[in-house]
Symmetry: C2
């Protein structure tokens, strides 16, 4: 059985972008987990992407597989794109190359070196004119997009743009409160329905044409599909792309937690 994979950063300009990137001088280590290295993207770099998504920052699963949006947020996004008929022709980058630690200072967000590098990625992903729509997940991603839109290439872009609520906003907002979680989920899905209605007619080259089926008030079956194997680097085991929860930051204090990631093969795989 073949295992399709993402070949990564072979062709220019992606090879250069994955070789020369901002480090701790641009992403200060009191605001970012720079010690785990940058994580660049997920999806198509071959010019076939019809939808560009800007996310926020990578977390621990992303750190291990070296691709972004591979956990719960990624599955929810995968479901949103599927409702638009986009099952493979997408590409994602993040606002930030490194995982946010605490919060990001305004001065950091405005650092032209950070912005210019990110704009090079957007330039590269938009340049062939195939991208029909751009989605931004959360406010930091929206800001990133607005900064690119001010550039000359940004001004020339004619595709659609939809800023949406971040896929895991309900969890971060509700902090374990089930009532708040339900409310926030409903709010998110309503927001996403707005984006679906806006973008449906804009996506004129879907991978799998499909009638528009809006979200209800809760996540329905099939609305959080798996991240496809083809989005991961070669040779990763199935459990790394079929689920998340297998990577945790462990340790007795904040410093130890910051220094460690424990990977555990899910139950039932090793006997």
């Amino acid at each position: 059985m073949p295992h399709p994979f993402d070949p990564g950063y072979f062709d220019e300009p992606f090879r250069a972008l994955a070789s020369e990137y901002p480090g701790a001088d641009v992403y200060p280590s009191d605001q970012f987990r720079v010690e785990w290295g940058p994580i660049f993207h997920r999806g198509r770099l071959d010019g076939s992407a019809r939808v560009l998504v800007i996310g926020q920052d990578p977390a621990q699963h992303e750190t291990i597989v070296r691709r972004i949006l591979v956990g719960e947020a990624g599955r929810r996004l995968q479901g949103l794109l599927a409702k638009l008929g986009i099952t493979k022709s997408y590409v994602f980058i993040n606002t930030f190359l490194y995982s946010v630690y605490g919060s990001v200072k305004t001065k950091t967000k405005k650092d032209t070196r950070l912005i210019d590098y990110r704009n090079l990625w957007i330039d590269a992903l938009i340049s062939n004119g195939q991208v029909e729509a751009v989605l931004a997940l959360g406010s930091a991603a929206d800001e990133a997009w607005q900064l690119w839109k001010k550039t000359s290439k940004g001004k020339a872009f004619k595709g659609a743009y939809a800023p949406v609520i971040h896929p895991t906003y309900p969890e971060s907002f509700s902090k374990g409160d089930k009532v708040k979680l339900a409310e926030a989920t409903k709010r998110l899905l309503k927001n996403w329905n707005g984006a679906l209605q806006q973008l449906k007619s804009v996506i004129v080259h879907p991978d799998s044409p499909t009638p528009l089926l809006l979200y209800g008030d809760i996540w329905a079956d099939g609305e959080r599909p798996q991240v496809p194997e083809i989005d991961f680097p070669a040779g990763l085991p199935a459990w790394m792309h079929e689920q998340d929860g297998w990577a945790r930051r462990v340790g007795k204090d904040d410093l130890e937690k910051r220094r460690s990631i424990e990977i555990r093969v899910p139950k039932g795989i090793v006997q």
Copy 2:
């Protein structure tokens, strides 16, 4: 500062080899840690390799970075190649795609599916006629080479071949006994000196021509150089290629140890 990296399995036949590989039906899970996925190679896949090295099997650091021979064995090998003037024009594969768990049964070693797949890699790496010498690390690798030599392409290969003692044989042989460790290290270095004398004149296209400097009885300064950054996938942090010891199998029993790898950023990197 640019961070050169290994772009991996983009061109054929490597793209196909990294996509369709033997699984647990060929590598039984009582003999291999198949649950962590296959790990294919380290080094040049662009036809520039002058030396092909066959190692044994990957361990925990290899599992995280998805390249082989990146730990202590890799550094010792790097030093051996440097004495031949080979600092970048090399490529390594392993006898086994997965980490050995316990020991490998003869029936498994003789499985034609295992052998045929490995032979496809050797075919691909030898095919352009640039490889001047082949090294096998340990007896399993030597057996792998002999099996390839029986094929029609193997019979046609005119380069040199040197089977050597595995780079971490002294540690596995001595099991913590310092006297045995010193003896085994001396034995290994003597064995490696033999290979150096055999291969020195064979490597006619070294990267950095250098006079032959044989090993003494112990590892000398500079004989275990770092694995170069260019051998790792894009974006990995410096500590992942500058040292090892940052990945451990943890857990209270054998099953838990098999299921877990803990990664810890070395001290002094996160404040």
